[in-house]
């Protein structure tokens, strides 16, 4: 048999150890050394926990905090808590009880007392769990069977019969009890617990055929005439027929059972009943039992034609054969469990007499079951968890769950091992391991991303470098936040996975770098240079930037005279010289053909810098002298806008060429305005949108 699991929460290792030694023979022990750890453990394995032994005075989160968390999450409904604190002030103990603790074991611990208390509490809760399970089962069946309709139907009948409203309930209660008892006696009827629920529910319909019987016969105070009695007897067949004609429901188990009960609840064991004169076990067991229950309740109730008889008298009459013959096994049950039956019926009438209290009890129960996590849900969740961790284990995925209250991350076993972290990270904002993994501000960033989600768009995707095992690699974190179904949804946390995308990421980066660069010189191409320049200026709009546009003088002639191979060498040499003339953070670009540009930031002395660069970029190669023309524009005069800078540099370059090449010029607005207009016409692609002709 599987051992029950007990969680021991105490900050003193010795106290945990003493309790563990006392209990480890009979139970599986899980330990937690403070309240936060306890909550984390419960979050993970609550469905498997049978009991919590809880200390009060602890660091991080004390026992009261644990109890409050358990209450807020309704865990306390399923997992009993025994307080084991050295606290003996009565107010503290009282507070623990108020918060839902079930028992208190004072120190010093006594082996026998601890073991006994644990067993008692477990037994009590096992019973309670069983009861909850039963109630839920019934509610589940009830819902499925659309019990409300049955209630309404059967009460219409009762109303017409002038009965108290208790008849249906009594028949049902008795049917339920007798089914249980007969199940103990024999298995020849193949009744499952599921069947019991269906049969007792269907029992409520046994008299629906009476709807078709005239009220004058139904409520006649005196004896019925033979004709009237013959009319009355028709109700069983009529009821069965009504059910048979229910469109669409014929194959429902409930309808089939109700049919049996309606038609044959006036049959008798010896074959002298109606309408079909069946005998013995030709009569379905459901109908046999309802027949007995029907007779019993008729005897013990007041009718227009008779007073109520006592329980004892009724049992005596039925077992004595005064009300027709019944299955001897059933009569045995009635005799044997007479006392229990009387008690059960008495309590059911009390519950019901006060204006259909049953209904409200059921509603209450449903609320309870619906509000807290029911056993069924817990089981499902547990199964889900097992399944998830199985998949996680075989697919080697790092899985995590995050809850904001209390803040905690639970990693899958594989994930924790892989990342070198604890499986449960309490208070992630202050966890050093997590900070090392995610880097400075990493957790805050993730948390912010979680906060930005909504129930409609709960996904989060973050690519980030994670550092563990001495390496830093790109990872993708994909998560989904979870929301309550309240009117105003509340975020209850998130679950997600972490994937290593390092290789794919590098590949992508390499590809985009390749696309961004000119293949001959390795310099950036125009598009990506423009992007980076814009980024740089947006980062620091007040910065001092210079853009230099460069053209190799008479490059066409060089190409024509010395061939393309030589031309390419010239381009590569210039590119190298450009790179070496500026800092690595500056931007060098081959815009196309023999056109290049440079983008740099400077503090002062731009004139001498430009002069130095210009001289560097005129060179000799294989005895051939190569010169350039260069136009420079500054952001301090033109503003930190790419288009403007580019146009100005272009205009300056144009002026330099006009001035005889082999020189550089700074853009000078008054001197070059006309040239600027010319440049605009020559380079429509750098014109701002509003200047372009409308198509």
């Amino acid at each position: 048999m599987k051992k029950e699991k007990i969680l021991i929460v105490d900050d003193s290792e010795m106290n945990r150890s003493i309790l563990t030694d006392m209990l480890c023979d009979g139970y599986d022990i899980v330990e937690a050394e403070d309240g936060l750890q306890a909550v984390a453990t419960m979050q993970k394995m609550r469905a498997q926990l049978s009991l919590v032994l809880l200390d009060i005075v602890m660091p991080h989160m004390d026992g009261f905090g644990v109890l409050e968390t358990m209450r807020a999450n309704h865990w306390i409904d399923d997992v009993p808590v025994i307080i084991i604190s050295a606290e003996n002030s009565s107010t503290q103990v009282e507070r623990a009880y108020e918060l839902g603790a079930v028992d208190f074991i004072a120190r010093p611990f006594d082996t026998l007392i601890v073991q006994r208390r644990v067993i008692n509490t477990l037994l009590l809760y096992a019973k309670q769990k069983q009861l909850i399970g039963m109630v839920e089962e019934q509610i589940y069946e009830k819902e499925k069977n659309n019990d409300l309709m049955i209630d309404i139907l059967s009460h219409i009948v009762e109303f017409r019969n002038g009965e108290s409203g208790l008849h249906i309930l009594h028949v049902r209660t008795l049917t339920d009890l007798l089914l249980g008892y007969i199940l103990k006696k024999t298995d020849k009827y193949n009744i499952t617990s599921d069947d019991i629920s269906v049969i007792s529910t269907a029992s409520a319909l046994h008299d629906i055929g009476k709807i078709a019987i005239s009220e004058s016969i139904l409520n006649k105070p005196g004896r019925l005439t033979p004709e009237e009695f013959a009319e009355m007897k028709k109700h069983s067949a009529i009821g069965a027929e009504m059910l048979e004609n229910l469109p669409g429901y014929k194959d429902e188990k409930l309808v089939r059972v109700a049919y049996e009960i309606c038609r044959w609840h006036h049959e008798r064991w010896d074959g002298r009943g109606y309408p079909d004169g069946l005998s013995g076990d030709e009569i379905p067991i459901s109908a046999q039992i309802v027949a007995l229950a029907d007779v019993y309740d008729a005897l013990t109730s007041v009718r227009v034609y008779k007073p109520a008889l006592s329980h004892e008298k009724a049992v005596e009459m039925i077992t004595g054969g005064e009300c027709g013959s019944f299955n001897p096994l059933l009569l045995d049950c009635l005799r044997e469990y007479s006392t229990q039956i009387r008690t059960a019926l008495e309590s059911s009438s009390i519950a019901d007499a006060k204006d259909r209290k049953l209904q409200s009890i059921t509603t209450e129960t449903m609320k309870r079951v619906g509000g807290s996590a029911s056993e069924r849900t817990l089981r499902l969740l547990d199964k889900e968890r097992v399944r998830n961790s199985f998949y996680a284990a075989i697919t080697e995925v790092i899985q995590f769950e995050y809850t904001p209250y209390p803040p905690m991350i639970a990693l899958s076993e594989f994930g924790a091992k892989k990342l070198g972290l604890q499986e449960n990270i309490v208070d992630p904002a202050h966890d050093q391991g997590l900070a090392r993994l995610l880097g400075e501000g990493g957790w805050e960033y993730l948390e912010e991303r979680f906060r930005e989600t909504t129930p409609e768009s709960p996904q989060v995707r973050v690519d980030r470098v994670l550092s563990y095992n001495g390496a830093s690699r790109w990872h993708r974190i994909v998560a989904q936040t979870l929301w309550t179904t309240d009117d105003v949804p509340r975020c209850e946390g998130a679950l997600g996975i972490v994937m290593d995308i390092h290789d794919a990421h590098l590949k992508m980066e390499e590809l985009s770098q390749k696309a961004a660069r000119d293949s001959l010189t390795g310099l950036l191409n125009r598009g990506s240079a423009r992007e980076q320049i814009e980024l740089r200026m947006a980062d620091d709009p007040q910065g001092h930037f210079a853009l230099a546009e460069i053209d190799i003088d008479d490059f066409k002639k060089v190409n024509d005279q010395l061939g393309h191979m030589f031309g390419d060498r010239v381009l590569r040499e210039l590119a190298q010289r450009m790179k070496h003339s500026v800092r690595s953070s500056d931007i060098c670009c081959r815009a196309g053909g023999e056109e290049f540009f440079l983008f740099l930031d400077y503090n002062d002395q731009i004139e001498s810098t430009v002069d130095r660069i210009y001289k560097n970029l005129c060179f000799e190669i294989d005895g051939r002298s190569i010169t350039i023309s260069m136009g420079v524009a500054l952001s301090v005069t033109e503003g930190a806008f790419y288009d403007r800078l580019y146009r100005a540099a272009d205009a300056a370059l144009y002026a330099a060429k006009q001035g005889g090449k082999h020189q550089y010029r700074f853009y000078d607005e008054s001197a070059m305005r006309d040239t600027l207009q010319g440049a605009r016409r020559a380079h429509p692609d750098v014109m701002p949108e509003e200047d372009k002709p409308q198509k």
Binding site: S12, M14, I18, V57, M58, A86, R107, P108, T111
Partner: protein, 123 residues
């Protein structure tokens, strides 16, 4: 030194603890473990720093352990200190003498356990 003698030396009740834990082996295990517990160091540090809350917790833990092990003398001393520290404020005039007693009893207790352990190691 037997376990009984150790209990006598530290002012505890061996009969009482045996009645509860029912196994000499277990008692010995926990008694030896007592030396590994850091609560006393934490108590000294917190008293020094004037951190009443932490001191309360540490003293409370010592009290609980002593109750479980029937270390009566240290248990009583730490119980009194615990009560004086309850509520999170440190009243030195009141707490210092109680703390001094806890220190004194802790030394007696740990000396006795060390002597007992030394005897075990020789044997």
């Amino acid at each position: 030194m037997t376990l009984q003698e150790c209990y006598a030396a530290l002012g505890g009740s061996y009969d009482e603890v045996l009645g509860r834990l029912r196994s000499e082996r277990l008692i010995q295990k926990f008694v030896l473990k007592f030396l590994d517990d850091g609560s006393f160091e934490l108590l000294c540090r917190s008293m020094e720093e004037g951190n009443a809350e932490e001191a309360f917790r540490a003293s409370h833990t010592i009290k609980g352990m002593c109750q479980n092990l029937s270390f009566t003398a240290l248990g009583d001393a730490s119980a009194e200190l615990t009560e004086s520290l309850r509520g999170g404020s440190l009243d030195r005039a009141n707490a210092e003498p109680l703390f001094a007693r806890v220190r004194e009893e802790y030394r007696r207790t740990s000396d006795a356990i060390r002597a007992f352990r030394a005897g075990l190691e020789q044997a």
